[in-house]
């Protein structure tokens, strides 16, 4: 629910309550005022009737045809002067209508009479009716005014808010420059925009720092590692080294190699994320797969892996040539590394997708983690666990999508354009 709608609902509910209370109040006040007025009119009439009676202008008993004046002997009844509500037949309305009655005693020629004067509320009722409709009209008018005000508000006053929202939606932490949120004429929005501007600046700066740090770390690592590796390699190939020492050096050498590869791969990943591979052109990935498979022929033969190729329909992607190469290398490398001896690799390409199926051990972990970093199956010394995250990063920056399915020991990776 929109904020304005919510406010309006509360407002209208409250307004309705106020109108009901005010209406009731007005009704009671009006009827009281009217009653008071009618009573006054009745009192005036009573005086006229009394003076007429005392001057014997009226023949007693008297009953007016419109039932407004009735003078009857009291017959010993105790009559007291009092006002009360009653009803009277109104010829104009052809029904009984509410009226006000004044009863009082009067002595004429030594005889007590009970005088009843009745006056209908008819005109006064119209008055209350008008007041009711007027209130209702005002209420409808307020709601209408509110509706148009809201339309104008969302078009103008809320505009800076929606603009901020759009900027925030487009905000990416890895963008180089932060677009400052514009200031409006509304204090609350300006306060929010200022805080958001500060936050975004801090976020991008922190992100850039962190990225730079990790890049520098992986980068600076390579030189000392080169020293370590070259020294160890020299030591390793020294024939005067004893077998026992050689084994220890070999272990250290292997570990240094792994660290170095890890650094290089992480650096590569951050470069892909940074979009440092800008140049794009259309690349026939099917042809690239075929080319790479040719190179891997001997390796595949050694592990007795059968390759089935359905690459007649080329799958073309618009991407960086180096990334395309990396993508194919990693996908095929993955398909070989995790394959079983005597298994198969099946590559199929269509205009819309490139499918790579291969036999392999059943996945132990969650397939959803397959593309995340350092997701390793079991303990493989020569696996960094970064191969498929490189694949997924390349897909991200190349407008490709990759899906994984596994059916009875056959792993299937499908690459398609987004």
């Amino acid at each position: 629910m929109k904020l304005q709608t919510k406010i309006n609902r509360r407002f209208i509910t409250l307004l309705l309550l106020v109108f009901v209370v005010a209406g009731c109040g007005l009704y009671f006040i009006l009827t009281a005022v009217i009653d008071f007025n009618i009573d006054e009119i009745l009192s005036n009439r009573a005086e006229t009737v009394q003076s007429s009676l005392h001057q014997n202008k009226i023949t007693l008993p008297f009953h007016s045809p419109d039932q407004t004046i009735d003078i009857q002997p009291s017959n010993g009844q105790n009559v007291e002067r009092q006002f009360s509500d009653t009803t009277i037949y109104a010829a104009s309305e052809k029904s009984m209508v509410p009226a006000r009655k004044l009863v009082f005693p009067d002595r004429v020629n030594g005889k007590t009479y009970k005088v009843t004067l009745v006056l209908s509320h008819l005109e006064a009722d119209d008055f209350v009716g008008v007041a009711f409709w007027f209130m209702l009209g005002t209420f409808v008018l307020i709601i209408l005014a509110l509706y148009f005000l809201n339309r104008k508000l969302s078009a103008t006053i809320w505009n800076p808010f929606y603009r901020t929202l759009k900027e925030l939606k487009d905000f990416k932490v890895d963008q180089k420059t932060v677009r400052e949120l514009p200031l409006s004429t509304i204090e609350e929005f300006d306060q929010m925009n200022n805080v958001l501007n500060q936050m975004m600046r801090k976020m991008t700066a922190d992100y850039a720092n962190l990225k730079e740090f990790s890049e520098n770390a992986s980068h600076e690592m390579q030189t000392p590692l080169a020293v370590v590796k070259s020294k160890l390699e020299t030591l390793l190939t020294d024939r005067s080294l004893s077998e026992d020492h050689r084994k220890q050096v070999q272990t250290a050498y292997d570990a240094a190699s792994r660290v170095s590869k890890l650094g290089q791969t992480l650096l590569l990943l951050s470069k892909i994320e940074n979009n440092q591979f800008v140049e794009k052109r259309s690349i026939d990935l099917s042809a690239l797969v075929a080319e790479r498979l040719d190179e891997l022929d001997e390796l595949l033969a050694l592990r007795n892996i059968k390759v089935v190729r359905d690459l007649q329909n080329p799958f073309v992607a618009n991407m960086n040539p180096l990334l395309a190469d990396l993508l194919v290398t990693n996908l095929l490398g993955n398909a070989i590394k995790h394959n079983v001896d005597g298994g198969f690799i099946h590559v199929m390409s269509q205009a819309s997708q490139l499918i790579l199926k291969n036999t392999g051990k059943v996945l132990q972990g969650d397939p959803r983690n397959l593309f995340s970093r350092f997701a390793k199956e079991g303990i493989t010394k020569d696996s960094s666990g970064l191969g498929l995250s490189i694949v997924s990063e390349i897909c991200k920056v190349s407008s490709l999508s990759i899906d994984y399915t596994c059916l009875e020991g056959v792993h299937c990776l499908a690459l398609s354009s987004r």
Partner: protein, 227 residues
């Protein structure tokens, strides 16, 4: 053959220099861009190894200078920045090859030899090891005058070993030389083993000489009698 090694990291430079001297090269060293610029202005080198990130400037400047003064000097870029930009920039300036740190010394050796062949002899020189003749340009191998038929990978392997004769080559360096990007993507050590087995068998059949020596747990050595 005279080489200049421009590298600011002491440990690495020392290793490279002692390795190359062992290989029979005459080596000079420079740790800073200014020193290196003076050296290339004063002396003539056959090949210069240039690190891009130097404390007082970029190695790219040195490459520009070398190619201006002595275009026939080979230039090998060694850079910790495994970035495409450096590689492209270096090669565009006229560097002959690019090697990312960390690298195998055997790989460095093979690359230097290949550069020297290219810049000094237009690549037309052949490598002679005892009675074996290896023609890098046409990718042919002869024993005396008899051709030895090798696959592409077997030839690469033989050329790599020939460049590093009488030196123990680790399985890692062989795998990386042959496979590059695929080296860690696939189970390449088995492959290295089977390739060497095939090459060894082919050479043995043709020549009756077993050139390869298995150095247990480490790798292999291409053994030839030193002249």
């Amino acid at each position: 053959m005279k080489l200049l090694v421009v590298e600011d990291e002491d440990g690495l430079r020392e290793t490279i220099v002692s390795f190359l001297e062992e290989e029979g090269y005459q080596c000079e060293q420079a740790t800073r861009l200014n020193v290196a610029l003076n050296k290339v202005a004063d002396y003539e080198y056959d090949c210069v190894l240039v690190d891009i990130g130097l404390p007082d400037g970029s190695g790219l400047q040195l490459i520009r200078e070398i190619k201006k003064i002595a275009p026939t000097t080979g230039v090998l870029v060694i850079s910790a920045r495994n970035s495409l930009d450096d590689k492209v920039a270096g090669l565009e300036l006229g560097a002959d090859d690019y090697l990312a740190k960390p690298f195998h010394l055997a790989e460095l050796n093979a690359r230097i030899k290949s550069i020297l062949r290219r810049v000094k002899y237009d690549g037309k020189i052949e490598v002679n090891i005892e009675r074996l003749r290896i023609l890098p340009e046409s990718r042919q191998v002869f024993f005396d005058d008899e051709a030895v038929v090798l696959t592409k990978k077997e030839f690469d392997l033989l050329a790599f070993f020939a460049a590093n004769a009488n030196r123990v080559l680790t399985k890692e360096s062989i795998a990386e030389h042959l496979w590059g990007d695929f080296a860690d993507a696939a189970d390449t050590f088995d492959f290295v083993y089977s390739q060497i087995k095939n090459l060894r068998r082919k050479l043995l059949e043709k020549t009756g000489i077993d050139y390869f020596k298995n150095v247990y747990g480490i790798g292999y050595m291409f053994q030839v009698d030193k002249k």
